[in-house]
């Protein structure tokens, strides 16, 4: 049974009410937020509870809600014990190592770290990579897909309407509006998922029913996952350490301690939420066997369909609002990051070093609109969005990880040339690696990627596009070392630029 046949007009009314509330919050904050710093980093006054809400909702997009539940539906609890626990380990490192350094130096954006430590050129390279990574194509596409599956409207129309709502409140209120709407979205997501999964568990007869129909290994914590695949996951998760939206929230914290505490509390929330999403996927498996869900159910729709049949009328609308919120809270945050990259990290250093507060604010809003339009165009023109996002994430990590970690933690000499070469080599190496594997390899339809297979010394090897970081990060490090050896001047990292 398609989910949209189970949605009543009361549920639609709840969704419409939610969207009106989001716009209302934007208008409310618009009348309060006075400056560029308020707009972009909320005046650096965010406390732990506000940070927890905005962190938890921004980093949990639909790829987690549907990706993790799909993984669980197909492979069982490895989705939780193999993937979630690994990814949260990276956040623990981020809380300990990054929060204090990032908050205390009063940065506005991630590329500004490169600009202060290595000069304008490195900053602009970082801004280009950060902007590309932050274009909200995937979340706009996901918004459209949800509208199509649940409400029966065309994907592009749904993405247009809901995307414009998120754009409106982001333009009106900046990070404050994003954070407050994130909070509403956070509450909707967490509460409806918790209630929906518990009800679904009751409906199917608990995990005993899953055990009756599960394949071998479905309840094995690592599910027979090969070690190389785990290593590939770890490599892909490194992008968390240079995620510009994550950095923006640390910059916006009232203190380093509040930022660190918020990350730890968010990790606790994610642990509980991820288990419920995993459980939802597994319970949907039993629901299919019992005929409660159709036999041909796409694994990607398992959680959505399972929870919708379990929830009563009215709460389905709240759940749908929560699902839409999941995509909107990710989209609004990255639009704001991308807008800041264009205005503050590219336009200001290149053309307007003495930009006033009002000019920066206006240019950031123009940048937000540009990133939204780029995201919408990509979402409905490009058909390999996930691969595109992986490429953008690889590009950002390869461009900024080495110079930023050196800026924050390396006490020795750091020349301008080191930063510029490290960023440039990382960016060029990413593009070169992807083009080379696409040229030498063959497309794999199952995994949606290119794989180059070759023999060497009698042994057979395969190189996937996803292995790019193993190649590009050492190249970026090499660029840094060469630049540090031959480069002349160094910057102190003190704030020398006008804001």
């Amino acid at each position: 049974m398609p989910p949209n046949t189970l949605i009543s007009s009361l549920d639609i009314a709840v969704v419409v009410g939610y969207l009106a509330l989001m716009i209302g919050i934007g208008i409310f904050v618009y009348r309060k937020a006075p400056s560029f710093e308020e707009f972009v980093v909320a005046g650096r006054s965010m406390t732990t509870p506000i940070l927890v809400c905005t962190l938890a909702s921004t980093y949990y997009g639909l790829e987690d809600l549907f990706g993790t539940s799909e993984f669980a539906y197909n492979d069982g609890i490895v989705a939780y014990f193999g993937y979630t626990l690994l990814s949260l380990g990276i956040y623990v490192f981020a809380a300990f190592a990054l929060a204090k350094r990032l908050r205390n130096e009063k940065f506005i954006s991630l590329p500004e770290i490169l600009e202060r430590y290595y000069g304008r050129d490195a900053g602009i390279l970082g801004a280009v990579a950060s902007f590309a990574y932050s274009i909200p194509a995937l979340s706009l596409f996901a918004l459209g897909r949800i509208c199509e599956v649940t409400l029966g409207v065309d994907a592009w129309k749904g993405a247009l309407v809901l995307g414009l709502v998120a754009l409106a409140y982001t333009l009106l209120g900046g990070l404050w509006a994003v954070a407050i709407t994130d909070t509403i979205q956070f509450v909707l997501m967490m509460v409806t998922v918790a209630i929906g999964i518990v009800l679904l568990m009751g409906d199917v007869g608990g995990f005993a029913a899953v055990q009756d129909v599960a394949a071998e290994g479905y309840f094995a914590p690592l599910g027979g996952m090969p070690i190389f695949l785990l290593l590939a996951y770890v490599a892909s998760l490194i992008s968390v350490l240079v995620d510009p939206g994550f950095y923006q929230r640390i910059f916006a914290a009232r203190s380093a301690r509040q930022a660190r505490n918020a990350i730890f509390i968010a990790i606790g929330i994610w642990l509980a939420y991820d288990w419920l999403v995993t459980a939802g996927g597994m319970l949907a498996k039993a629901a299919v066997h019992q005929g409660m869900l159709p036999a041909g159910l796409h694994s990607n729709d398992a959680l959505l369909s399972g929870v919708i049949i379990a929830l009563p009328t009215g709460l389905v609308g709240v759940f749908l609002a929560g699902v839409l919120a999941t995509a909107m809270s990710t989209m609004d945050s990255y639009c704001l990051v991308a807008g800041t990259n264009l205005a503050y990290d590219v336009h200001r250093p290149l053309w307007k070093p003495d930009a006033t507060d009002d000019e920066l604010m206006r240019n950031t809003k123009v940048g937000v609109v540009i990133s939204w339009i780029a995201g919408f165009a990509l979402a409905f023109v490009f058909d390999r969005l996930m691969a595109l996002w992986v490429f953008m994430a690889t590009g950002l990590t390869s461009t900024v990880l080495v110079p930023i970690m050196a800026a924050l933690f390396w006490k020795g000499r750091r020349t301008r040339l080191a930063g510029t070469l490290s960023s440039l080599v990382g960016l060029v190496a990413t593009i070169g690696f992807y083009l080379a594997i696409a040229g030498l390899g063959v497309e794999n339809e199952t995994y949606g990627t290119y794989i180059w297979s070759f023999s060497l010394g009698g042994a057979r090897f395969e190189i996937w596009q996803e292995y790019a970081l193993y190649f590009t990060l050492p190249m970026s490090l090499l660029g840094f070392l060469v630049g540090n050896t031959f480069g002349g001047d160094s910057l102190s990292g003190e704030k020398e630029i006008s804001t």
Partner: protein, 42 residues
């Protein structure tokens, strides 16, 4: 009810409880910050 059912219940209760608490603290902090913002704008 087996161990996984209990684990699911435990996580659901933790999630709803933690979300409610955080939301209450959020309201307290946000009201204070917006009063201050309003004063700065005046």
């Amino acid at each position: 009810m087996n161990g996984w059912d209990l684990f699911t219940w435990f996580n659901a209760v933790v999630l709803v409880g933690a979300t409610s608490l955080i939301f209450l603290f959020f309201l307290r902090d946000a009201i204070g910050i917006f009063k201050q913002l309003g004063r700065e704008k005046e």
